[in-house]
């Protein structure tokens, strides 16, 4: 029983998370104050959503560097349409989602049809999408307090739970996690995703539609990144063409820390959620305990290296044991 638990890929990250919470709580009681938890739960779902899509994509053996750009781009589209009186907010939302999906499709098409590595394709897309967002807005943020559409309440309306202030985005994040966790481990599509990343040739020889699977995942990742960006823009009341810069690497770090293989074939949504919490709590906690904010990256980098060392150790032990 215990043996089984320990051999799960999520076990290492879970231990790290529990340790982290224990250390920060002991160090600074403010860490578990309602105010701080509310604060944590406000932003975490936005980055977290992107990691969910990225988990499936990485399990299929690809990754996407353009997620941060799409995170900034989608809200710009939505609010520009609305503020310029071109469309209602709802239509603007649909246009932004459609464009995100097209970006994802294009990424997937370049990777699967032209056989260009996803690193290069999505690096190019990162620049194109970010550049477009900057060009459309002349680099200025878009106003987002101009509307009181019900859509905004649905996406990220806030409500109190006891002393906590909770945003609807947290519920969406939980819902997306459950759905995508189910897809990855319980569904036929999940089997295809893992096979596509594990051994593409073998999967294709068995009739798995690898291309379709990968393109669908690129689209999912772009869609969910755009949605996360829109969520963020409503919550902070500004759509900044630069928002989301650098998220791609933090997202990939979260996914990998959670136990998903960088090389594909193996992925875990539960692990990813744990990975998201590990890095978010770390950012929050080290500031609370008085580590200079500028030293944050030292810790993040240290944790990533440490987790990788742990992984390779577990992997070797696993293989030599059989």
């Amino acid at each position: 029983m215990l043996q089984k638990l320990v051999s799960k890929p999520e076990f290492g990250p879970l231990v790290l998370l529990v340790l982290e919470i224990a250390v920060f709580t002991a160090w600074s009681p403010a860490f578990i104050s309602p105010g701080n938890i509310s604060n944590l739960l406000a932003f975490t779902p936005e980055l977290g959503m992107i990691t969910l899509g990225m988990t499936l994509l990485m399990t299929a053996g690809e990754f996407d560097l353009s997620v941060g750009s799409v995170f900034g781009f989608a809200p710009i589209i939505m609010w520009t349409f609305y503020n310029a009186h071109l469309a209602s907010l709802e239509v603007g939302f649909l246009v932004a989602m459609a464009l995100s999906a097209i970006i994802g499709y294009f990424n997937g098409w370049m990777v699967t049809q032209l056989k260009i590595p996803s690193f290069l394709v999505t690096l190019g897309m990162l620049l194109v999408v970010r550049g477009t967002a900057l060009y459309i807005t002349d680099g200025f943020p878009q106003q987002t307090w101009t509307s009181n559409s019900i859509l905004m309440k649905i996406i990220v309306g806030e409500f109190p739970v006891g002393d906590l202030k909770i945003y609807a985005s947290l519920l969406w994040f939980v819902l997306f996690s459950v759905i995508l966790g189910y897809v990855l481990t319980e569904s036929k599509a999940g089997n295809w995703i893992q096979a596509a990343g594990g051994n593409e040739q073998a999967a294709r020889a068995r009739g798995v539609r690898v291309r379709l699977t990968k393109i669908a995942l690129f689209m999912l990742t772009a869609l969910i990144s755009g949605y996360a960006g829109i969520t963020s823009s409503i919550r902070v009341s500004a759509a900044n063409p630069n928002s989301g810069t650098g998220y791609e690497l933090e997202v990939i770090a979260m996914v990998v820390i959670g136990g998903t293989a960088l090389t594909g074939g193996r992925g875990t949504i539960i692990g990813t959620v744990i990975g998201v919490l590990i890095l978010r709590l770390m950012r929050n906690g080290i500031v609370l305990v008085g580590v200079p904010g500028l030293a944050y990256n030292i810790f993040i980098g240290g944790i990533i290296l440490g987790m990788m060392a742990l992984h390779s150790w577990l992997e070797r032990r696993h293989h030599s044991g059989v």
């Binding site: 036929k188 999940g190 089997n191 594990g198 068995r206 009739g207």
Partner: protein, 251 residues
């Protein structure tokens, strides 16, 4: 007269200016095990890849049960009942045995849109199949393939071919990299396949393995079939070796 299962006619295949197959025709009958022999570069693998949908011929026709079929990809071939087992097994090592067995043809239960894998069926069938192909060790079907030995992996690939009731099972060097005991297991399977109504094409470098199990031997040389009706019971291994190397031809 035995019933014909598959017939390939006038197959030609070029790779650039190199002609890999030069007007090759062959037939396989029901319940027949055919050994396909030939030196490296003789065109065995190319021919087999065309039959299994991995490559497309430049010209020529393929018939199953006497009617012409169009094999465009591996899915088509599998739908016609042609299953191929490669030397490296072509399994996804990260996935479990059961998930590999059903890869690409997963059973789904419940509402269609839920797309839910029927994991209990997959595991039960996998457990039974592993017994049938001679894995006596009690390996749970949820074990990842990466934890299996070479022979066990080959057994999983064979179990897959058996379960989906392929009419023709192509084994491309199935005994490469296998130990003595595991090789015997694979050869036993090939004999068993004939008894349960399958036909097989067996490609192997090791002529002794081929002689042990096949009904008929076809020899290829430089993209052509040079002998297609050698009876292993009436021919010596030396003779076949000489045909393969071209030191002797059959009139």
């Amino acid at each position: 007269m035995p019933e014909e299962l598959v017939r390939m006619e006038h197959i030609k295949k070029f790779f650039g200016r190199v002609q890999a197959l030069n007007d090759v025709s062959l037939s396989v009958y029901k319940n027949e095990i055919v050994g396909l022999l030939g030196d490296n570069g003789a065109g065995k693998s190319t021919l087999i890849k065309i039959l299994s949908g991995a490559l497309r011929a430049n010209s020529g026709e393929i018939f199953m049960h006497g009617s012409k079929v169009n094999i465009r990809d591996t899915t088509d071939a599998m739908n016609y009942g042609i299953e191929t087992i490669y030397q490296d097994s072509a399994l996804v090592t990260q996935l479990s045995i059961a998930r590999n067995l059903f890869l690409g043809r997963e059973p789904v239960r419940g509402a269609r849109f839920l797309d839910r894998l029927d994991q209990s069926t997959m595991n039960n069938v996998a457990r039974k199949l592993l017994k049938q192909v001679g894995i006596t060790k009690d390996i749970p079907p949820t074990t990842p393939v990466s934890a299996l030995s070479g022979g066990e992996r080959q057994a999983v690939a064979i179990a897959r071919a058996m379960y989906f009731e392929s009419e023709l099972i192509i084994l491309d060097e199935p005994t490469n990299n296998l130990g003595v005991h595991e090789t015997q297991g694979v050869l036993r399977f090939v004999r068993g396949a004939r008894d349960s109504g399958h036909s097989c094409i067996l490609i192997a470098h090791n002529i002794y393995h081929v002689f042990q199990v096949v009904d008929r031997i076809i020899v290829m040389r430089r993209g052509k079939i040079v002998a297609d009706d050698i009876d292993p019971k009436k021919t010596t291994i030396e003779t076949v070796e000489r045909i393969i190397t071209g030191m002797m031809t059959i009139a």
